[in-house]
Symmetry: C2
Subunit: 260 residues, 2 copies
DNA sequence: TCAATCTACGTACGTCGTACGGAGTTGCAC
DNA sequence: GTGCAACTCCGTACGACGTACGTAGATTGA
C-alpha cells in the first residue's frame, strides 16, 4: 500500500478541485477503470482482476493503468468505495429500530450477493471514502433515537455489519470449496464417506456425532449459509434489544439513554 | 485444491494404517513439516510461508516438500487442524451455559491472538480433520443440556465461532494497515486531517460526524478490536439467552426444549 | 517558441506455486 | 540372489503475477 494520502485523493477525486494539467489528456478516467474492474470482478472473481487482464479489457497497455491508479491495492479500495456509493438509500420507513436494522443487514447482504468478490476484501481497512461515509451516515439512521449513546450506536452498527460480512465470507468460502473440488456436497460426502465414517466414530465423539448429523440432515450440508445468516441475525437483534429496551422487557417504547 | 481424499488422508495420517513403503524412508515427517510451517507463520506471517522459504528452514529442496504435502493449500489445511488439535480442553467447570460459552469464545480468541495468521485462513473450508472434530465435540459441551435442540446447538456454536473469527480478522486487518502505512493511527490522522476535515463536513453528514467523533474519542482510533469483541460477545450471549431462556426472562434455570 | 510536465507503454526484474523428469535408494516377488 | 517396481529427492523450467524504470511523444504555460 502506497501513500495513504494518495489513496484519499483518489477516493475523493470527484469533490476535489482539478489541478492544472500540463501534458496530454488521459484517454480514460479513473471511474471508467474502476467500473471495468468491478465488471471483471463480478464476472470472474477478484483474482481475475490482474493489471494485465484489466488493461486488456480497457484496450490499453498494462503499465498505462498506473497513470490512473497507484497500484492494485488502491484500485480495490476504490472499487469498494464505489460500490458503497452505489447502494440504494431509500428513506428508512420502518418505525421500529428492529426492522430498520434488519433492512440495513439485508441491504449489505444483497451487496455481497451481487458482488461475491467483496468477501475477499477487507472492508475495515480502506481509508474513509465518500461512499463509505455516506453509507455510515445512512446506516446510523437506523439507530437514531432508540436511546443508545453515540459510542454504543457505532458499536452496534459495526457489530451488525461485521456479522453480515462474516456470514458472506463463510458463504463465499463454501462456494469456492465446491468449485475447487468440482463436486456437490453430496458427491463429496459420497466419495469420502468410507474414510470419514471410519474416523468419526460415535463413541469417541458422541455429541459431535449426534449434533452434526442432525445439523447435516436439517440443512442438507455441513454448513448452510442462508440458515446461518437468518439464525445469527435474529440472535443479534435480540441481543441488541436487551441493550436497547433496558428497563425490562414487555415494553415497546425505546428505553432511556444507556451508559456503558 | 487437489483431491480432497488426499487431504483427508493427510489430516488423519496418525490414525491411518501405514501402508507398505517401497522406496527410501523419508527424512522428515509431515508433522515436522507442518510444525515448521506453523513456526514460520507465527514469526513472519502466512505470506512468508512460501514453499521455498519453508524448505530452506527444513534444509531440504523446495520440491522435496511435495513428497510430504500435495501443495501449499493442503499444507495450510493441516496447519489449521494441528492448531485445533493443540487447543487446551480443560473440563468445562462453569455450571451456567453463559460462562461456558464465553470461555469457548475466549479460547478461540486466544488462538487467533497466538497465531495471527489464522485470520488470513478460511476456517470453514477445510475437510474435517481430527483436530476440528475434537474441537467441535468439546465446544458443543458448552451447549449441552441448556434446552436447545440439536440443530440449534450447532447453529449457536457456529454463530459464536463466526463472531470470534470475524473480530479477529478485523483486528488483523487493522494491524496490517498500520504496518503497511508505517504509522500509528494518530500519525495517520494528522497526515490526512487537512483533506478529511474538508470532506467530512458536519452539515452533510451530521450523524456520522457526531457518532464518529464520539466513537473515535472513546477508543482512540476509528476501530477498537478489543472493544468490538467485548461489545459483540455480550450482545451475542444476550441474544442466545433470549432463545434459551424462552419461557420469559427473570428465570435462571434453563428453559425447556425449544422448537425452531 | 520551448521547456516543463504529463501520458502511454515496452522491457525487465524478482517473486510465486508447481509440472516434469531424472538420479539414486529401497524392499518385495520370484 | 536378483531384478524391478515404487519411492524419495531435487534441478530445471514455465507461466503467472505486481510493478520499477526509462523513454518517446503530446500538450501547454511562460
Amino acid at each position: 500500500m502506497g501513500d495513504p494520502t494518495r489513496t484519499l485523493e483518489l477516493l475523493w477525486r470527484e469533490s476535489l478541485p482539478v489541478k492544472a494539467q500540463r501534458g496530454p489528456k488521459q484517454a480514460l478516467t479513473v471511474t471508467a477503470v474502476v467500473d471495468a474492474a468491478v465488471t471483471l470482478a463480478d464476472a470472474e472473481g477478484l483474482d481475475a482482476v490482474t493489471m494485465r487482464a484489466l488493461a486488456g479489457k480497457l484496450g490499453i497497455a498494462p503499465m498505462a493503468l498506473y497513470t490512473y491508479v497507484p497500484g492494485r491495492a488502491e484500485l480495490i479500495d476504490v472499487m469498494l468505495d464505489t460500490l458503497y456509493a452505489s447502494m440504494a438509500r431509500r428513506k428508512p420507513k420502518a418505525r421500529d429500530w428492529r426492522s430498520r436494522l434488519e433492512a440495513v443487514a439485508h441491504d449489505n447482504r444483497a451487496l455481497f450477493t451481487a458482488h461475491p468478490w467483496l468477501a475477499d476484501v477487507s472492508t475495515t481497512r480502506p481509508p474513509l471514502g465518500p461512499g463509505q461515509l455516506a453509507k455510515y451516515e445512512y446506516e446510523l439512521q437506523a439507530l437514531e433515537g432508540v436511546g443508545l449513546d453515540d459510542v454504543a450506536q457505532d458499536s452496534a452498527l459495526t457489530f451488525v455489519l461485521g456479522f453480515v460480512e462474516s456470514s458472506a465470507r463463510a458463504a463465499s468460502d463454501q462456494r469456492a470449496a465446491r468449485l475447487e473440488s468440482r463436486m456437490s456436497d453430496g458427491a463429496w460426502w459420497e466419495a469420502n464417506a468410507p474414510l470419514l465414517t471410519r474416523m468419526f466414530d460415535a463413541e469417541r465423539y458422541p455429541t459431535a456425532f449426534r449434533v452434526g448429523s442432525a445439523a447435516g440432515a436439517a440443512h442438507g450440508a455441513a454448513y448452510d449459509p442462508d440458515h446461518a445468516y437468518a439464525f445469527g441475525l435474529e440472535r443479534i437483534l435480540d441481543g441488541l434489544a436487551v441493550l436497547i429496551e433496558k428497563p425490562r422487557a414487555a415494553s415497546k417504547r425505546p428505553g432511556r439513554r444507556v451508559r456503558k
